[in-house]
């Protein structure tokens, strides 16, 4: 929308509103970071600067194993969901087949469903499966659950990229003696790579973030970082959680920045 620049009182109001929104977004995060350095047993109270909470975090084997588990689950589920999600995206954007509409709708459901509902569904499913097949809930069930919602997110991102791609390029490749597979490998794949990377980063983020689903399909003696933190919070808050939160924040931010950089870099080429 080109146009009508707001003027005078309206403009000031709108600007105030915008600044308010940004403040609203960032103040809590900034405060969180600040208080993670606070030397006080009470959260949100400033008691002098300290790095004790971070060293406690680094020392705690529990948090470290939880972090390690989170990363393992995220990596595994991302790889699987990127492969399946990309294939699904290709099928939907380049082919027609019977039941395509159903498949399309099916892919949207995990995006829209509230995570409580999904957590419950998977809990019941795995409980039944455990009864019949007799396996333990744990890493496998968590990873499988994460893939279940990540496929959809990856496919949405890759589809957008595929749709924006000029299909004549694939025709040109075939006209120039490339087989279908080679045309995909040398032309389509490089051009949708930013989409795949974006989808992968999204999947990683969602997996690292997940609390409810992971908690429900978790097994005994196994936990991921968010679930661990969630448990801590419910028991009673200490600034240790601050420190852990900041670490998680840093990881998320790094991922976001990475995705932004890849978006920008690829869209230039």
């Amino acid at each position: 929308m080109s146009v009508t620049q707001p003027r005078g009182a309206t403009k000031r109001l709108l600007q105030f509103n915008s600044w308010f929104v940004y403040l609203f977004f960032y103040a809590p995060i900034i405060l969180l970071v600040i208080f993670s350095f606070s030397d006080s047993p009470n959260v949100g109270v400033w008691g002098g600067f300290t790095l004790d909470w971070y060293s406690e975090f680094a020392d705690s084997s529990q948090t470290r194993s939880a972090l390690g588990n989170s990363i393992k689950v995220a990596l595994v589920s991302t790889v699987i969901s990127v492969v399946l999600g990309t294939m699904a995206a290709l099928a939907l954007e380049r082919f027609t087949f019977r039941g395509k509409r159903v498949f399309d709708a099916l892919l949207y459901l995990p995006i829209i469903i509230p995570d409580v509902t999904m957590a419950i569904m998977l809990l019941l499913f795995f409980s039944e499966a455990a009864n019949i097949l007799g396996f333990q809930k744990g890493f496998a069930t968590i990873a499988l659950s994460h893939v279940a919602f990540n496929i959809s997110f990856v496919s949405v991102v890759v589809r957008a990229r595929l749709a924006g791609m000029d299909q004549r390029l694939e025709e040109a490749a075939v006209d120039l003696y490339a087989s279908r597979w080679k045309a995909f490998r040398h032309v389509t794949l490089p051009l949708i790579m930013p989409g795949i990377a974006g989808g992968a980063l999204l999947a990683l983020t969602l997996s690292l973030d997940d609390v409810v689903i992971t908690q429900f399909v978790n097994g005994p003696g196994w936990t991921t970082l968010p679930v661990f933190v969630f448990g801590l919070i419910r028991k009673g808050v200490t600034p240790l959680i601050n420190a852990v939160s900041v670490v998680m924040l840093v990881i998320s931010t790094v991922l976001v920045l990475l995705s932004l950089i890849t978006e920008r870099a690829r869209s230039d080429s």
Partner: protein
């Protein structure tokens, strides 16, 4: 007589570069291409011309293999290719918006086809560089397509196709995206390139001037059907039907019917001495190009045939005068080149519109 060969003047049988028999393409209920028979000669610069939606691009794509015919036979130099995938045909295409791979350099683009055919890196590089030099883009090989102008992109597309030495080169509206001056330059270049290489070029266009200036022969298409396939002169001077007469250049169509082999009677009763093979009584139109008609005063007796009318309007174009002349039953356009000594007529003046009998052609629907 063998189907895919064509008679040449010296009686020698020559294999047609592209040979189509009963080629049909149906999309649902619509016949985009309807039962086409066509031979394109070896070394020809051939044009498929027609308004949008006439099926010319579909036909081209069927030769490329990007569409499969619903029905029919398609041969390239005698080999049946109708069912082959595009990567198995000895044919390459220059796409309408060039379709250059944005993530590859010019050199990589041009060498793509060779790479896909399994050529070694060294060979690919050498031959690609040769092709790049042939289209005068040396020095640009490391650039990306988005760093090139439209004209340069087009040359890359050409090089990319020609480097593979295809038996037939297909071009889909190759000059459409270029501005006028560039277009004219490229027309000359393409023509001389084709002569030099001797490869059969088949191109698609909706621009009849382009077709006329570049092609050895033109196929005029409408609604999936061939209306006329002939040289530019033939098509202009002796259009096969109303559509061709009207589509190529501008023409006046005078209604009448055939009296006999030598005479056509116009609606106003005037008899025109024109040769025609059509039967007596057949309803026809006489195609008279505006530049073939000349205005004379009403009382004069010019050579050739004439009809009477009155000038309705005059427009001065600098290099010509364009008249609208009202005849008894219709209006026609007359274009007189601005030459010294030209008699100019004012609106309202009664005139005699004269033309040579062999300057018109008889057309039917």
């Amino acid at each position: 007589m063998s189907v895919e060969s064509m008679d040449r003047e010296d009686g020698e049988r020559e294999l047609a570069a592209v040979s189509m028999r009963s080629i049909t393409k149906r999309f649902g209920d619509v016949y985009a291409v309807d039962d086409i028979d066509l031979d394109i000669a070896d070394g020809e610069f051939f044009a498929l011309l027609g308004p949008s939606g006439c099926g010319k691009t579909t036909t081209l794509r069927m030769v490329a293999g990007l569409e499969f015919p619903t029905l029919g036979s398609l041969k390239i130099y005698g080999n049946e290719v109708g069912t082959l995938a595009p990567n198995k045909r000895p044919v390459n295409t220059v796409f309408q918006n060039y379709a250059l791979f944005p993530h590859m350099s010019v050199l990589e683009n041009v060498g793509f086809g060779l790479k896909m055919q399994g050529a070694s890196k060294a060979e690919t590089k050498t031959q690609a560089m040769e092709a790049i030099e042939m289209v005068q883009l040396q020095g640009m090989e490391k650039r990306r397509p988005n760093q090139l102008s439209g004209g340069q992109q087009q040359r890359v597309a050409l090089a990319r196709a020609l480097v593979n030495r295809p038996q037939v080169l297909l071009l889909d509206e190759p000059l459409g995206a270029l501005d006028l001056k560039l277009r004219q330059e490229m027309q000359t270049e393409l023509k001389s390139l084709q002569r030099e290489l001797g490869i059969t070029f088949v191109f698609v266009t909706h621009d009849q001037e382009e077709a006329m200036s570049m092609a050895d022969r033109i196929a005029v298409m409408k609604d999936g059907v061939l209306n006329q396939v002939a040289s530019p002169e033939e098509i202009y001077e002796r259009p096969a039907n109303r559509f061709v007469a009207d589509f190529i250049g501008h023409t006046n169509l005078l209604e009448g019917h055939v009296v006999d082999r030598e005479i056509v009677r116009l609606s106003n009763g005037a008899d025109i001495p024109v040769k025609t093979d059509l039967p007596s009584g057949a309803k026809v139109e006489v195609s008279l190009r505006p530049e073939r008609a000349f205005l004379h005063p009403a009382s004069s007796t010019p050579d050739g045939a004439w009809v009477d009318g009155a000038v309705k309007s005059v427009t001065y174009l600098g290099n010509a005068y364009v008249y609208q002349v009202a005849l008894d039953w219709m209006e026609i356009d007359v274009r007189e080149e601005n030459r010294p000594g030209l008699e100019v007529f004012d609106p309202g003046a009664p005139v005699r519109v004269a033309f040579a009998p062999d300057a018109v052609s008889v057309v039917t629907e």
